[in-house]
Assembly symmetry: none
Homo-oligomer: 203 residues x 4
DNA sequence: TATGAATGAGAGTTCATTCAT
DNA sequence: GATGAATGAACTCTCATTCAT
């Protein structure tokens, strides 16, 4: 009988995750503040009460979405890096995050949404800052490795370069997400590659 | 008599502008989506109906705020640049935008708010993209001047460098606004100066 | 100087009447309850404050409209009757009121509006009942004349026939105004002529 | 469990109908345009939100009221006709609709309200015209039966007589509802009987 | 575990009206 | 005499949430 319960739980958890994935698109599409239970219901077919049963408060749902999206994003980049050895190519793989390869701009929009939410929610802020650090560390490791390997020639502290790099990625994503005709995804990719090349002292 | 009316109108316009200035803080503080008429009323002492009489819809009010903030921001930087001749110092003057000197982070928060709103409002999007270009052009001019003056040594297209610079500014402002203890305003200023120095080929 | 004032007053009264005429269409179109000052402003170009200056309260305006419309209606029928001598033709002239000849169905709609308003406003009710009586008396006179002239052969009290006649007119106007495809204006005219012929004992 | 749910639904539907019945009086009393949610709340004890949950928009509520009233009216006359065989008496039974026997003048006022609303709402108009036809058909059947039975002697098309009859009923109800002291319910009943007798050729 | 029924709090918006010019 | 500015009151509607099943 405990197995039956276990299976029911698993099924339930599965459904919860499915709902969460769809909710991500909804939040990315409408913005967190404008996302109502009813919107998620419309997108998932799961009744409002059930959503509340799964996630609790509307805020709880949003935070669950943010968490889920942040993790998915990081995981996706991790997978992409798996087979890449060269530091520069690893850097570019992360940068292509920007060109929209990872789920159109859903990921990026959610990132802004959660960032904005974190401005006013201390608990979420801690998580977001943690994520920030994860990315910084990941980038710094790559840069350190690149310097060791003689691929990069820079005297700067790797963590500083990492912060500059992430800032460039974020800052270039803004106009791309907004659809600026003067800064398309491809152009942003080029600008980014050029800037990162200069900042790392790429050989 | 027309003079009297004229004065009434002028006083009215003045009051409108005052309200707008206060509304900026409110929107920066609470976020656009969470800003209710009642919040602006509480902050200004001006009744809800009067706000609607001045601005129309809640959305209209928000857009008026965005417009006002964008203009103020640009004007403020313009003033700051007025007495500065050296290209590098001009660049740094704009960059100090980031360190919060211009108006705590109110300006920056409003920038994100309007950016986010523009994602879903085509009309506002056009304006925001226009503002983007204004900044790009301003930066490019400075870079061009710096190259001519022999202050910067780079073979890159000035407009490209401008875009990289603005991306860095925006991207570094994110963690600062969020209060990341690892990326304070001062540190961000240093990171920015360093990166801009490398990207422009500062001598 | 008193002449100047007199002229100003006359001009003002003229304007007031003009506004009233337009307001009639507005009320007929939108219904009394749904008629706002703003609607009348939109239709006349006269500012809201000016309307209030002319008519006072919104209710006052509506009642002015009802009064104006009732009088216009009665006057219009009076003119139409002026050159008609034969009792039956006089009856038909009044009946053609129904076919919409007098002013599309504006007149009739206003009649229903004022009737409905009179249900809840004692003062207006008195006026509307007075108008009712005016019509009854007019019809009864025609019938009496027709009997005297040997045109009608009925033993009924003329005032009773008048009431039946007016009821028929009102009752047939309802579906016509509603646009019932089974009771068009022309058909209603025939039904009315037939019924009145039978009720008056037309020879 | 499905039984329990079924019962909850049934109870809910019951409550909805109860509310609707009370709402009818409110609308008849105040007029449709002047009926606010708050008025129905005051009369029923059911909260505003609940009314909206049941009926939707304010307009939806009004239309539900109109529908309910129209059906009730028709049903009530149907019951009254059940035991009556003689065509003339059947006609009089319908006519007594006017004398206010069927629920004071609530029914009639609602009829006017829905008629007026139908002027501006196409969907409702279709329904009202349908109701109109129902009454016409009912009356025409009675007249046809009366002619066959030799009770009525008229060469007119039954449907035409039906339309004249309904017009008389409607037209006489107007002054009665308005409380015209010269056309009371009883007098209107006599006028109607007299006129219908003449139009049908009652023997 | 999952879901429909019911409801209160809150917000935007409309509109008549008052006041000053 | 005529009109724009300002404002409060009223109302509808949305939405999260609680309760019962």
């Amino acid at each position: 009988m405990s197995e039956v319960i276990g299976e029911a739980r698993r099924r339930s958890a599965r459904k919860r995750a499915d709902v969460l994935a769809v909710a991500c698109s909804v939040v990315a599409e409408r913005g967190a503040d404008a996302t109502r239970f009813a919107d998620v219901t419309a997108a998932t077919g799961v009744g409002v009460s059930t959503l509340q049963y799964y996630f609790g408060t509307r805020e709880d749902l949003l935070i669950a979405v943010f968490r889920f999206a942040a993790q998915s994003d990081f995981d996706a980049v991790g997978e992409r890096l798996a087979g890449v050895a060269d530091p520069w190519e690893r850097l570019m793989a992360i940068a292509s995050h920007l060109t929209g390869a990872i789920g159109s701009d859903t990921g990026w929009r959610l990132w802004v949404e959660s960032w904005r939410w974190a401005l006013r929610d201390p608990e979420l802020r801690a998580e977001v800052l943690g994520d920030y650090t994860r990315w910084h560390v990941l980038l710094a490791e790559i840069i350190t490795a690149g310097v060791s390997a003689g691929r990069f020639a820079t005297d700067a502290v790797p963590m500083d370069v990492a912060r500059q790099a992430l800032a460039l990625i974020d800052g270039l994503a803004l106009p791309v997400a907004l659809g600026d005709p003067q800064v398309t995804g491809a152009m942003a990719g080029d600008l980014l590659a050029d800037a990162l090349g200069r900042l790392t002292g790429l050989r």
